[in-house]
């Protein structure tokens, strides 16, 4: 594998990873605002 290809793959994975993590955090915050307090306690710890 060429170094340039390797760097491109690493960069792509990092960008996708950061975006997916950010999306998951955003989704979690949205859910948290509307979920039932009883459901939250029951589903948590």
């Amino acid at each position: 594998m060429k170094d340039r290809t390797f760097k491109l793959i690493i960069t792509t994975i990092t960008v996708i990873g950061i975006l997916s993590t950010a999306a998951l955090i955003w989704y979690t915050c949205q859910l948290r605002e509307t979920c039932s307090i009883v459901s939250y306690v029951a589903n948590g710890r």
């Binding site: 998951l24 979920c35 307090i37 009883v38 459901s39 589903n43 710890r45």
Partner: protein
């Protein structure tokens, strides 16, 4: 770097992101996913479960001498009390008084459901004649005052304000001052109250809801605080006993004893549970509907209190 190491680095990076996202999902996202029905998620109550005049519903009914045929007072109220005011309609009102279209009660229906915040606005604005809720918050009273209306608040039954934890939490009870210290942020770890060495995740509800108004009164002016690390620990929340026991269907929670007293019906009725409180019927003092006071008197009568008991709540006694 040889190709083998490059592939290993790529796979490691992918694994790190997948692992990190999986941890976020399992620690935080999963617990926010509401597994109750769509109707429950939309309304905080399953309206059809307690729909009046429906053979398959659980709406309670008593044989009543009081029957309205016209000039029906429009009823509205809190999710936790919906079984009561649907039971009142089921017992006193004519069968054709309900209009349920497109997933909600039509404006011309005698039965509405807009939850506590909506109901207080509705009774002040004149969209509802009588609402069934916990006592109003300061902002709800101010809204009435700003609109030049005075509310009549009549206690009609007893209920308990309860604190809930996950059933796996080893803590079964707290003292009142411990609860206040938890929600004010003074107690941050469950080990301080006999539990595990885990952060306390003190939850709160939206302003204007019946349970938040009751919690604000309980805290007596002390602000509620939550720890950012609480999400890594065990949660504690609050609601009304009937709602937790009968309406949400969550077996994963348990109600805490307060000062050693469990929030069961007996302790609520005799007043020994420290946070036994009343719930109310509320109407505008200047309401001109001729049946409003008649309805309130009926709710306070033996038959009306029978509705409250049959619906699973505690009568005034």
């Amino acid at each position: 770097m040889d190709n083998g190491r490059k592939v290993a680095v790529i796979l490691a990076l992918i694994s790190i992101f997948i692992g990190f996202d999986a941890a976020i999902y399992n620690l935080f996202t999963k617990r926010c996913i509401d597994t109750t029905s769509k109707e429950m998620q939309q309304y905080s109550v399953e309206l059809h479960r307690y729909m009046p005049f429906d053979n398959n519903s659980e709406a309670v009914k008593v044989e009543s001498d009081l029957k309205f045929t016209k000039e029906l007072p429009v009823l509205d109220g809190a999710a936790a009390l919906y079984p009561i005011f649907s039971g009142i309609v089921n017992s006193v009102y004519p069968e054709d008084c309900i209009r349920f279209d497109n997933g909600g009660f039509a404006p011309e229906s005698a039965l509405h459901f807009t939850n506590t915040k909506g109901a207080y606005k509705a009774v002040v604005d004149g969209d509802a004649d009588v609402i069934f809720c916990a006592r109003p918050s300061e902002s709800q009273l101010k809204y009435a005052e700003d609109n030049g209306t005075e509310l009549e608040i009549v206690d009609i039954g007893r209920e308990a304000f309860v604190f809930i934890v996950n059933k796996e939490n080893p803590v079964d009870g707290l003292a009142m001052n411990q609860v206040k210290d938890i929600f004010s942020g003074k107690i941050k770890n469950w080990s301080e109250v006999g539990g595990e060495n885990l952060p306390v995740d003190a939850l709160s509800r939206n302003e204007g809801s019946g349970s938040q108004t009751t919690m604000d009164k309980f805290m007596g002016g002390t602000k509620q605080k939550c720890s950012p690390f609480g999400a890594f620990g065990r949660s504690i929340g609050y609601s009304f006993r009937y709602y937790v026991d009968n309406m949400v269907g969550c077996e994963g929670v348990k109600k805490l004893e307060l000062d050693g007293i469990s929030p069961n019906k007996e302790h609520i009725a005799d007043g020994s549970y420290p946070l036994a409180s009343t719930f109310c019927a509320v109407y505008r003092k200047d309401n001109t509907n001729p049946h409003v006071k008649e309805l309130i008197d009926w709710v306070l009568s033996e038959k009306g209190q029978e509705i409250i008991e049959k619906a699973g709540y505690i009568p005034l006694g």
